[in-house]
Symmetry: none
Subunit: 237 residues, 2 copies
DNA sequence: CAGTGGTCTAGACCACGTC
DNA sequence: ACGTGGTCTAGACCACTGC
């Protein structure tokens, strides 16, 4: 649909990269500024800004301007939720142990999703207090994420690193959630019987149509739950 | 925002009235037709049609045309999803067996959520083809939903009955999703070993701040998954 | 080929907010 | 008065579909 070479798409990408390093309510360029800067008509610059508002990244106020918008409210249930924030909301101390960081050729299923044969593999175990609750197996495209090897993955959210340090704004997500019994390998890490109930989530994250990382989580069923309140649309007639 | 007297709004209203009496996949007027008919420029006619697509009422296909879209496409992960629709999307034949419909005093936990001591209890088992996949235990406030006793709960979605027959628009939802092992009672209904992995979902539905119904689902883990694609907002700093 | 939607231009007028 | 976003025009070129 939205072709990547369209001018308004390029302007959107430029703005999204800017938004990643700005704060809530910071001002964004006006339609006229953008039109002049990119040498396009005002309608084209406008299209970029309006799209961002529709997608929730910006707030436009007639007579005032366009501002970075940051409501966390709507995605709710399946929001991409960094582990530390999850922990904060439950008032427990989070801890992360890095089990493995290597450069590998990924399994072919992952290679297809990431359209890439060179990846960084990260395995981490996440704790609430001293209790292991989530096991993470993540592949990152090494052409895009090589710099992540320099980061401290015990204390920093990979999500945040991608967005703010590697300048890879998170623009699209595919994910799948299952209820499973934990496989043996994970069970021993969790210290629970093999087959205990757990969530399994698989997620692929994109920057502008470009896949960046694929992650698989196992989350202990007794300790994890998704909870949310929202307002659905009224159904059609 | 969108002023009612804007020309594109008038065209939208005209189209929406038309859509109500058309069928899924019926063709809608083209941009040029609308521009001529309403004496506006193509960009204005286009705005009306594009808006309808964004709002889920229409599907636009380059080179072909614009068509009435009926299913709400935005299928968020946790959309309130009637069972039959879920089945349709997976191309399997759904079936529902009603196990119990009684008037009861609910457990105190449910009574608190519904703020009510008189409820209708419905237990149903849902099948894909001949395979049981979901078990439902639902309490409905009898002061609001008494008429549901007259409905055929084997063929009709309770969700639809509440909205369209009892005139209880669904304005808010609270829900919680867990990964659990199925309890014995449910395991025997499913025909699986007790403790097999499953989703457990609890949901309370409101009409204008007024709780209407509380439902608990068990869904077989091997047969159920939530999958979605979406565009997240950037996270806060 | 003609028709469709997708993008884009270079102007225009308006209502609104700030100064 | 000036800048902002909201609407609108009358053209244009493109890629795609169906015939």
């Amino acid at each position: 649909m939205a072709k990547r070479h369209a001018k308004y798409m390029q302007i959107k990408e430029h703005l999204l990269r800017g938004i990643a390093s700005r704060r809530f309510r910071d001002s964004l360029p006006s339609e006229n500024e953008l039109a002049q800067k990119f040498g396009v008509s005002r309608m084209t610059a406008r299209r970029a800004l309006s799209d961002l508002e529709l997608e929730g990244y910006a707030l436009r106020i007639p007579g005032k301007g366009t501002f970075v918008q940051n409501r966390r409210s709507t995605q709710g249930f399946f929001r991409v939720r960094p582990f530390r924030k999850h922990a904060e909301e439950h008032h427990v101390t989070p801890r992360t142990r890095v089990l493995e960081v290597t450069v590998v050729e990924p399994p072919k299923e992952v290679a297809e999703r990431l359209r890439c044969r060179q990846t960084i593999l990260v395995r981490r175990l996440h704790y609430f207090e001293e209790e292991p609750v989530r096991f993470e197996t993540r592949y990152l495209r090494s052409d895009l994420c090589a710099d992540i090897l320099w980061e401290n993955l015990e204390f920093e959210s990979i999500h945040e690193i991608l967005i703010h340090k590697l300048n890879l704004p998170l623009t699209q997500v595919w994910q799948r959630l299952e209820a499973v019994g934990v496989p043996e390998e994970v069970a021993s890490l969790f210290g629970v019987p093999s087959g205990s109930p757990a969530f399994r989530m698989e997620r692929v994250t994109y920057t502008f149509e470009e896949p960046v990382t694929r992650v698989e989580y196992f989350m202990r069923g007794e300790l994890y739950a998704f909870e949310d309140t929202f307002c659905p649309q009224l159904e059609n007639v």
